[in-house]
């Protein structure tokens, strides 16, 4: 299978400073993969994913999206295939009403008006935005604004969906919407990249994790492998979900536990297996 995103020796240095934000990273992401990107603040997560839509261009190295080198392409051209949900919704929303905001993307894709409207309706239903449609995006609360940001990309149905810290500042209900979104995108066969500090979210939804530290890609593996690697976790100051930590501790103490649990359900089944012995 041809990878949808291919990164070759990517290095990025911001023009303002001498800081190397991303150092010599190479990786491939296949269509349909759900990938988490983790690391401390300032480790280069956002810098890395901004290259996938062309908002940043490599200082050296290559980024190939959908078979095309992004360097000569304009953001507008890449955006038809790649949707980027900003970390800060204030940087993403600009229209006068939520309805216009949701329709802006699909209109730019030259879709017929009834298709645009149908997509807006679907997004409204999925994200529960019925009450907000005619409001100015700045007049609604921050968590809802973030949902509008995701919905405005969702209406474009990009092949690659990039979420930058989708659950930061969200309450329980809106977080559940993010879970539903990622699962729906997986079912539809989209590729999803999720930059997050929310390990519980990642443990549940992603198949693969990229771990960044000071601009280096230090690990590329499944969540189970990443969370079990004590060295990687402590050197990046990240902590696995509590249930995973518990399962790791229990495995250390009684080696009868076979697998590291990523969720409560997995933990329950491990305990059952243990008690049956």
């Amino acid at each position: 299978m041809e990878p949808i995103i291919k990164v070759e020796d990517l290095t990025h240095i911001y023009p303002t400073g001498q800081v190397v934000a991303v150092k010599d990273i190479s990786l491939e992401i296949n269509p349909g993969e759900i990938v988490g990107v983790i690391g401390q603040n300032g480790s280069g997560k956002t810098t890395l994913v901004k290259h996938f839509i062309g908002l940043l261009k490599p200082t050296s190295g290559k980024v190939i999206v959908n078979g095309k080198d992004t360097a000569p392409l304009r953001v507008q051209q890449i955006a038809a295939n790649v949707g980027y949900v900003y970390q800060n919704p204030n940087h993403q929303l600009f229209a006068r009403t939520v309805r216009e905001e949701l329709a802006f993307g699909p209109r730019n894709l030259d879709l017929p008006e009834d298709e645009v409207n149908a997509r807006v309706e679907q997004a409204v239903e999925f994200f529960h935005l019925e009450e907000l449609l005619e409001l100015h995006p700045y007049r609604i609360s921050f968590p809802l604004r973030k949902l509008v940001g995701m919905a405005s990309i969702y209406t474009m149905r990009p092949a690659v969906f990039i979420l930058d810290e989708p659950t930061t500042g969200q309450d329980n209900i809106t977080t559940q919407t993010v879970y539903r979104l990622i699962k729906k995108l997986r079912d539809e066969g989209s590729t999803v990249l999720c930059v997050a500090h929310d390990m519980i979210l990642l443990a549940e939804v992603v198949d693969r994790m990229l771990v960044l530290r000071d601009g280096d890609l230090i690990m590329d593996a499944t969540p189970r492998e990443v969370f079990s690697n004590y060295e990687i976790m402590s050197s990046t100051h990240l902590t696995p979900p509590q249930i995973t930590t518990l399962s790791l501790r229990l495995r250390e103490k009684y080696d009868a536990f076979d697998n590291v649990a990523l969720s409560i359900d997995e933990m329950v089944s491990e305990v059952q297996k243990f008690s049956n012995k």
């Binding site: 038809a80 600009f94 730019n108």
Partner: protein
């Protein structure tokens, strides 16, 4: 988020000029402003401009200054064109040459050149001051000489708002591009202006809340985190600035021979060449600027 952002703010550095107290710099920038408006003499204006540029080079803020000058240049070229056919001068005007319905006047060329030099002399010195002083230092120094706190705050906030607005513009443009914004030309730029201004108003609202929640407007002596020292040399520079400005202004008023509008005669070929160059130059800048904005 770069591209359209033009930095009209401090450029950090450690040159002699950076180390001077903001007050003498302010005094000199203001002095140059007064002199520039007092005279049309090209020699005085160009001397002020050249000295300003030398100081810019000493302060090592040449790159940032060049970006500002690049914006001023096309604007100044339009002045030459407009002035040459409609001088801001008492009539009668002396015609040099007529091209179709337009007549280029002797006073027009003189006035155009002196206005261009005047703009460059003033902005060079103003930029020198802004680019080498920390905004808070300007703020504290002005307060020391009795500028009211609120007025002072308004001034510094305005100075800081400019880069913020420029940044905001880049942010909105990026957001629209990342949703496959169509179109080119002004049609594509205009829709991003609305959110920029809405965003700016939103920001001012937030600012006023955060100001009030931190006791802005309470009475009492205000202290500053940054300390500004005033040395003997700074005071000497201020005195020199005031003496220089007053002396120059006096000389300009008294010595009528400094008005060269009659004696500096322009050859018709020079006049036509200048006007054509200015027109073409302006058009070229507009085209280049538009292309840059659209490709950014």
């Amino acid at each position: 988020m770069q591209g359209v952002v033009i930095p009209i703010s401090m450029v950090p550095g450690d040159s002699i000029i950076h180390r001077i107290n903001p007050l003498p710099k302010l005094a000199w920038a203001f002095g140059v402003l007064v002199i520039s408006f007092a005279t049309r003499n090209p020699l005085i204006l160009s001397t002020l401009f050249v000295v300003g540029v030398i100081l810019i080079l000493v302060a090592q803020v040449g790159n940032a200054y060049l970006k500002v000058a690049m914006i001023l240049f096309p604007i100044s070229l339009t002045l030459i064109v407009l002035q040459s056919i409609a001088p801001a001068f008492p009539k009668p005007w002396t015609p040099i040459v007529s091209v179709g319905p337009f007549t280029i006047f002797q006073e027009g060329i003189y006035s155009g050149i002196s206005m261009l030099l005047r703009i460059f002399a003033m902005t060079t010195w103003a930029m020198l001051m802004i680019m080498t002083s920390h905004p808070s230092d300007i703020f504290t120094s002005l307060q020391k000489i009795g500028m009211p706190y609120v007025l002072n705050f308004i001034l510094t906030m305005t100075l800081q708002l400019l880069p913020i607005l420029q940044n905001e513009f880049a942010v909105v443009l990026n957001a629209q591009k990342s949703r496959a914004m169509k179109g080119s030309g002004f049609g594509a730029i205009l829709p991003s202006m609305v959110p920029v201004f809405v965003g700016a108003i939103e920001r001012v609202q937030q600012l006023s809340i955060s100001l009030e929640s931190r006791a802005f407007g309470s009475s009492g002596h205000k202290t500053s985190y940054r300390r500004v020292r005033m040395t003997f040399w700074d005071i000497l520079l201020i005195v020199l600035g005031i003496v220089f400005t007053a002396g120059m202004t006096y000389w300009i008023i008294v010595d009528k021979s400094l008005d060269w509008s009659e004696t500096m005669v322009f050859h018709p070929a020079f006049a036509i060449g200048l006007v054509v160059f200015a027109t073409l130059g302006f058009l070229a800048f507009v085209v280049i600027a538009l292309r840059n904005v659209l490709q950014a």
